[in-house]
């Protein structure tokens, strides 16, 4: 008998351990989805963002330090989701929202990008708790609009603003070609300037990356603004391309014409590699958001105004084509009051003054003191203050819904390479 007992117990041990292992494994795997979340307390703000590269990471760190010194009883759980422009972040956030395990707050482009979230009612209305009248007064109308859902309730707090309609240039290359960028007043002028540069110098007239769709898409956007004006551009964002067929086709054609003057390897380099051509004097112009300026400023012996300079993209003077990042408050929220405090801080003078000079963007508020900003950003701020239109973008998610943005990218991914205006136009008609 004792013998049988022993066999039983051995089997039982085996069985039990097998089941335990299964349960344990299942438990681990199940728990994985909640990675990094759900463990916080009411006083801990979990901030998910994609600012992981050098300067960006320093900038968010400065913001967090400022927040923690202002709200000494609150702490920040800094949860990075690396991946350019939030490619990994949106996957993670959507996954967590679906599991009712949203973080306290996360980074998102305001405007159209919010649609996925507002449609499903997962963003809290922060009109009363965060957006007091003092804050409202400090934001420009174009930026305020982006922060609201379809019913006009505030759901996001913009932190910074980048400008998209920039034309950067290498001063020496333009001098040797005899081109004065301040005389360029339309996208067509830019084309003839590039012809001159092509004839006079060895440099590529325009540094550009056509490897991914967004760089071509944003170039087309600014050509459209430059040729047809902000109203037409905004009409396209609103209701699609069909009512403005001529303008849309003409802008596409202009990009095709520009293409002759891109660097030869445009199709296999990323935008920052292309930007190096401007620094090395191998390219003259570069159309890019003002995050590109960070690269100039960190290159030694390549100084603002002496070596590189900037004009608004020809034809878009008075326009500040904005690319902006914001933070939101998902619902249900693990730390509602602390999240409100974070969002108020993101919208405060102090927070934006700490963050933006390091990030290389201008504050979303207009009343942040100028002292901390270098000469380039100060000039951008002046342009922003004097701008008469602040349209949203397609390529950077503010102007259209994620679905429309994805369709545009699909069309421009094929456009970059085929350079076929008719075909791209017909793709764009299906985009909305």
């Amino acid at each position: 008998m004792s013998d049988k007992h022993s066999q039983f117990s051995r089997r039982t041990v085996l069985k039990t351990s097998g089941v335990a292992a299964a349960v344990g494994l299942a438990g681990c795997t199940g728990g994985d989805g909640g990675d990094g979340g759900g463990s916080g307390t009411e006083n801990e703000v979990e901030v998910v963002h994609w600012w992981t590269a050098g300067g960006e990471s320093d900038a968010i760190q400065a913001l967090i330090e400022g927040f923690e010194s202002e709200y000494s009883d609150l702490s920040v759980n800094n949860n990075e989701a690396p991946g350019g422009a939030g490619s990994a972040l949106s996957t993670e956030i959507q996954d967590r929202v679906l599991q009712d395990n949203a973080p306290s707050t996360f980074q998102i482009w305001p405007g159209g990008s919010l649609q996925t979230y507002t449609e499903s009612d997962v963003l809290a209305d922060i009109s009363d708790s965060v957006w007091d009248s003092e804050m409202e007064d400090a934001y420009k109308e174009g930026v305020r609009d982006l922060s609201q859902d379809d019913n006009g309730n505030y759901v996001a707090v913009p932190l910074n603003i980048h400008r998209l309609n920039n034309l950067f240039y290498n001063v020496d290359v333009l001098d040797s070609a005899g081109v004065d960028p301040s005389t360029l007043s339309s996208p067509a002028d830019l084309l003839s300037a590039m012809e001159t540069i092509d004839a006079e110098t060895d440099a590529a007239p325009m540094a550009q990356s056509t490897q991914s769709a967004w760089t071509v898409l944003q170039l087309w956007e600014d050509v459209l603004v430059g040729e047809a004006g902000v109203e037409t551009y905004e009409a396209v964002l609103e209701s699609g391309v069909e009512e403005n067929e001529d303008a849309v086709r003409s802008a596409l054609q202009t990009v095709v014409d520009y293409r002759e003057y891109f660097n030869a390897d445009a199709g296999s380099v990323a935008w920052d590699e292309a930007n190096n051509d401007v620094i090395n004097g191998e390219a003259a112009f570069m159309h890019q958001g003002d995050w590109a300026a960070g690269q100039y400023e960190s290159s030694e012996g390549f100084d603002f105004e002496d070596s590189w300079d900037h004009v608004p993209f020809p034809g878009t003077e008075g326009v500040y084509h904005i690319v902006t990042d914001s933070f939101v408050k998902p619902e249900p929220n693990p730390s509602p009051d602390a999240t409100d405090a974070w969002l108020s801080y993101v919208g405060s003078v102090d927070g934006q003054e700490r963050f933006n000079p390091i990030k290389g963007s201008i504050p979303a508020r207009t009343d942040v003191p100028d002292d901390a900003f270098g000469p380039f950003l100060s000039r951008q701020r002046e342009d922003f203050d004097n701008s008469n239109a602040q349209p949203a973008t397609i390529a950077h998610g503010t102007g259209v819904s994620p679905q429309v943005k994805s369709n545009f990218e699909e069309a421009f991914a094929s456009f970059a390479g085929e350079w076929n205006v008719d075909r791209t136009y017909s793709d764009l008609t299906d985009a909305f």
Binding site: S2, D3, K4, H5, S6, Q7, F8, S9, R10, R11, L14, K15, S17, G18, V19, A21, A22, L25, A26, T29, S87, S90, T91, Q94, V97, L98, S113, T116, Y117, E119, S120, V122, T210, Q211, S212, A213, N263, A264, D265, A266, G267, S268, V269, G397, P402, Q403, K405, S406, E409, E410, F412, A413, S414, F415, A416, G417, E418, R423, D430
Partner: protein, 340 residues
């Protein structure tokens, strides 16, 4: 613990006596049913296969089934999915194949291109990689010097991550400074240099070429094993019968490599269906219609911001059925042969 363990180390003779059956008959019948059940082979083996089966069943087959169910819904966005069997339909599949059917030789919706490119990739990649692998195996099999080194060199690309190989192929394809165009210019073929990965005419083929480079070493190893399994008498017999080298390989050796070909082809084809990493690293989620494949499209629909979960699930299911279509003939043959 000690008291439990000590009987385990008892001499085996007693254990044999309990298994002998006699003591069981001596006990009462109700207990004997229970004990028989406890001693049955099935129950004894349970701890060894049940946990694995449950885990695989839940996380592999369960997930496949769940994915299929999601594809029957209209789930989109961040709302909770509702599983109402009355609303299950195949709309996503109709939409997908409808769009594929709209495509012609020159144009069509993105679905058509992704579907078509997936097939081009599948067939071209598999066939060429097999041929290259076979040639390499035949060469390496010639009792050459440094055979081991060559084998390692050819197999090495397979051990690299696609992220690494995609990045350096992108560098090599760079039209102005990349190795490929520089090499062509060096040997006087500057006229045929191309924008390999930005010109839609070459994009997909540039990717396929790189993948062939990475996988032909694997084919070589499979073929080499097949070649080594052929008895040397057959080479000798063929020679005695007067076959020249070409004829010997064509008539005697290669036909015997059918099993190697099948197994390598299945691996390659299944890989081709999910060749996601390489394209994703090279082009991101938007490779344009000339290089879009279903795996990328599925990812884009689900995770690139649009949250079309149900539609992406339908694409995933289609990919799964395609992979099954590739594997099942192979499995069936193995089964008929009694190898499973």
């Amino acid at each position: 613990m000690d008291t439990n363990q000590s009987p385990d180390s008892d001499p085996p003779t007693e254990t044999v006596s309990t298994d002998g059956g006699l003591p069981v008959e001596a006990t009462e019948s109700t207990e004997s049913t229970l004990q028989r059940w406890r001693r049955s082979e099935l129950v004894k083996s349970l701890p060894f296969w049940l946990p694995a089966t449950l885990l695989v069943g839940l996380f592999v087959y369960g997930a496949i089934g769940w994915n299929f169910i999601i594809s029957l819904t209209d789930w989109q966005g961040l709302r909770r999915v509702t599983y109402n069997p009355a609303e299950f339909d195949l709309d996503n599949y109709f939409e997908f194949f409808g769009k594929v059917a709209e495509g012609g030789l020159l144009g069509g919706p993105q679905e058509y291109w992704a579907f078509r490119n997936t097939f081009v990739l599948l067939i071209l990649f598999t066939v060429v990689a097999l041929i290259v692998g076979l040639l390499l195996a035949l060469l390496v099999d010639q009792k050459i010097r440094f055979e081991n080194s060559f084998r390692t060199v050819f197999l090495l690309p397979m051990s690299l991550s696609f992220v690494v190989t995609a990045v350096f192929w992108a560098w090599m394809y760079n039209p102005s400074s990349g190795m490929i165009n520089e090499g062509l210019r060096l040997v006087g073929l500057g006229a045929i240099t191309q924008n390999w990965i930005s010109d839609p005419q070459f994009k997909l083929f540039a990717v396929i070429f790189a993948l062939i480079w990475q996988f032909s070493g694997y084919c070589m190893v499979v073929y080499l094993a097949g070649l080594r399994a052929i008895p040397t008498d057959q080479y000798e017999a063929a020679k005695v019968d007067g076959a020249n080298t070409l004829k010997m390989y064509w008539r005697v050796i290669i036909p015997q490599l059918r099993a190697s070909t099948t197994s390598a082809a299945v691996v390659l084809m299944v890989f081709a269906l999910k060749a996601f990493d390489f394209l994703f690293v090279m082009f991101g989620t938007q490779p344009g219609r000339s290089a879009d494949i279903l795996a990328l499209m599925m990812y884009r629909e689900a995770f690139a911001g649009t949250a079309n979960w149900a539609y992406a699930s339908a694409i995933a299911t289609i990919l799964f059925v395609m992979a099954l279509g590739v594997i099942s003939p192979y499995l069936y043959r193995q089964y008929k042969r009694g190898a499973l």
